[in-house]
Subunit: 362 residues, 2 copies
């Protein structure tokens, strides 16, 4: 563990979009707050006063209500969950090697991180206000007002079935510290297994509805488009749960290492409600694979770290990793297979290039 | 719809293992009984007398019980579900093109089918006998006694969470006809979204347990092994839910078709509890793709048929299909990527070769 500050790669200052280097994520169940990626849509980070903040819960409910932070804490049982969040744009850089993606942030491998989130279950709040059994979705409204929606607040939804799942939290704490303003204070949603864009920060409204959100970030953006399609309202498929993914976290891409036995480590994340059952590492481009050792998983909703020891000859080796989920789903080989016009959900085999120095037998 | 008998490909007579041609599965929500694949492990098909048959429910339960067929029908509400079953060995022929798989049945594309199953919910039966909340799994024992287990009955299990899911049935009817002896009469289990091997036929016992079955068909067979591993007890990962898959059902592989506009149809199946959100068809090996039209899905647990119209020049074209699931999971391109020593769960891109005859402009 280092006490040096983490050098974030800042993709843009306003909105603030930044990711940590691989090493800051390696070998830790929980990502330190100063190494957690920032993905913002609005230029202004909302600064909400927790003393006056209130959550509105409305829509297809029997008893629309507002809850202060104190009321949320008093009325509902506190729960915590270790959850990995991952931006739909994580690893977009790999898609940019296939074809350009104008206007899209070139995220590397660091738009993911894991924290212990503490708060109340969304399900408990929804049960308290009484959900119309005919409702299908639950929308979340943030206090952030992105320029691309011309001042309309950030809004997305999840299906009611997921909203009622015990793992979905309204969280005010991150790694046992108060939720920082940059991560959505005073309260954000945490939707385990789904793209980070559904875990709405600076939460102000929860609305039970008859269909999915028609807001920009679900009806236009954060959709999987065919390679030859242009983004348009309703085109393609709204991204929700994420598919199995993995990456190398150490050594760094391009690192010099001593030839011979080289430990390599990284993470895998199954996505949705699946688990990681195997991670494979290859030094011959995927012609042959060695099984990595899997570390214990901190929670059902967190990533799983893996370790492998490679025997590297002097020279340059590309280390490739892929994971399998509990349905025997495996990552596709090539980013070209899944390239899409918004550059989302790159879960192709991940890789780093290592330069081994010296005599392997020395 | 034809009234001609379906010509099954019989891989072995004893045990009886047979699959229909692609065309028999095409464009039908429900697969006719005479076109439903047969996957057996024992030489003798059990012939159980429904009048004397009884289901034993025991293990970690408060009130072990046996139920006659009449008692099952009287005591519990009847439910039906349209469910696609798929053998873990479906499409093994594609893996055989990568490397040999001695002793394994060379299943083609037809080891899958969809039926309306009617019976009672396993969950209702389990609640009736009272499940120990500390239990984790539920084992199913069939009346079939395969030679490879030296007379021990066929046995596998599912996690308790799945056993309690409303879609898991103890079924006595298939497409509104009494369950045929060949498909497990009088009662079989139907476990939607999971490999067919968990849907135990000729059910005789349901045992609530503290861990997964240690029987041959879960602890040794039906496991995903690394490519260089030998089957051994506990090696690899037990297959359970299945990953997204798709195939072409018409025209047949190798068919002659008129050049020009050629309709192509097939199915996609998401597996687990996911849904199919997109199907792509390519005539250039996956360099470019066209979206197929998706038919309505008969149920959450059934396959989804798709249609595409291709413009084929005279000559030979390889038509490739792949599907995406609701977590943006996509099929891997090449069977070599997932080849495994028992030849299971081939969900690589599927293909047929078509020979277009004549003048495309004619």
């Amino acid at each position: 563990m280092t006490t040096q500050p983490v050098e974030m790669t800042v993709h843009s200052a306003q909105p603030y979009n930044a990711e940590p280097p691989r090493a800051a994520l390696a070998n830790r169940d929980l990502t330190p707050l100063d190494a957690f990626y920032h993905r913002n849509h609005a230029v202004e980070t909302p600064r909400l006063d927790p003393a006056t903040w209130a959550l509105r819960v409305d829509g297809r409910v029997e008893r629309p209500a507002t809850f202060s932070l104190g009321e949320l804490r008093q009325r509902f049982a506190e729960h915590s969950e270790v959850v990995t969040l991952q931006c739909a744009g994580n690893r977009r850089a790999g898609l940019l090697e296939v074809a350009e993606l104008p206007g899209e942030t070139p995220w590397g491998p660091g738009a993911t991180g894991t924290a212990r989130w503490r708060g109340v279950r969304l399900a408990d709040v929804l049960r308290d206000v009484g959900v119309d059994p005919a409702a299908t979705d639950v929308a979340f409204t943030g206090a952030d007002r992105p320029e691309e929606t011309e001042g309309a607040p950030y809004e997305v939804s999840v299906p009611l079935e997921k909203a009622l799942a015990p793992e979905v939290l309204l969280a005010w704490s991150m790694n046992d510290e108060p939720l920082p303003a940059a991560h959505g204070a005073p309260v954000r949603v945490v939707v385990p297994g789904w793209i980070g864009a559904r875990s709405v920060k600076w939460l102000e409204g929860v609305t039970v509805a008859d269909g999915p959100s028609q807001g920009h970030y679900q009806a236009v953006a954060y959709r999987l488009l065919p390679a030859d399609a242009a983004p348009a309202r309703g085109r393609g498929v709204a991204l929700g749960p994420i598919a199995v993914n993995a990456d190398v976290l150490a050594p760094a891409d391009g690192a010099e290492v001593p030839a011979g036995r080289v430990p390599v480590t990284g993470y895998a994340l199954a996505g949705g409600d699946r688990t990681v059952v195997r991670v494979d590492v290859s030094t011959d481009g995927g012609a042959t694979w060695a099984e990595a050792d899997l570390e214990p998983q901190a929670s059902r909703w967190s990533w799983r770290h893996w370790q492998a020891e490679l025997d590297l000859p002097p020279g340059t080796t590309r280390v490739v990793v892929r994971a399998w989920d509990s349905a025997a789903g495996v990552q596709p080989a090539d980013p070209a297979e899944l390239w899409n016009p918004k550059g989302y959900v790159n879960n192709s085999w991940a890789h780093v290039t290592l330069h081994a120095i010296g005599d392997a037998d020395g």
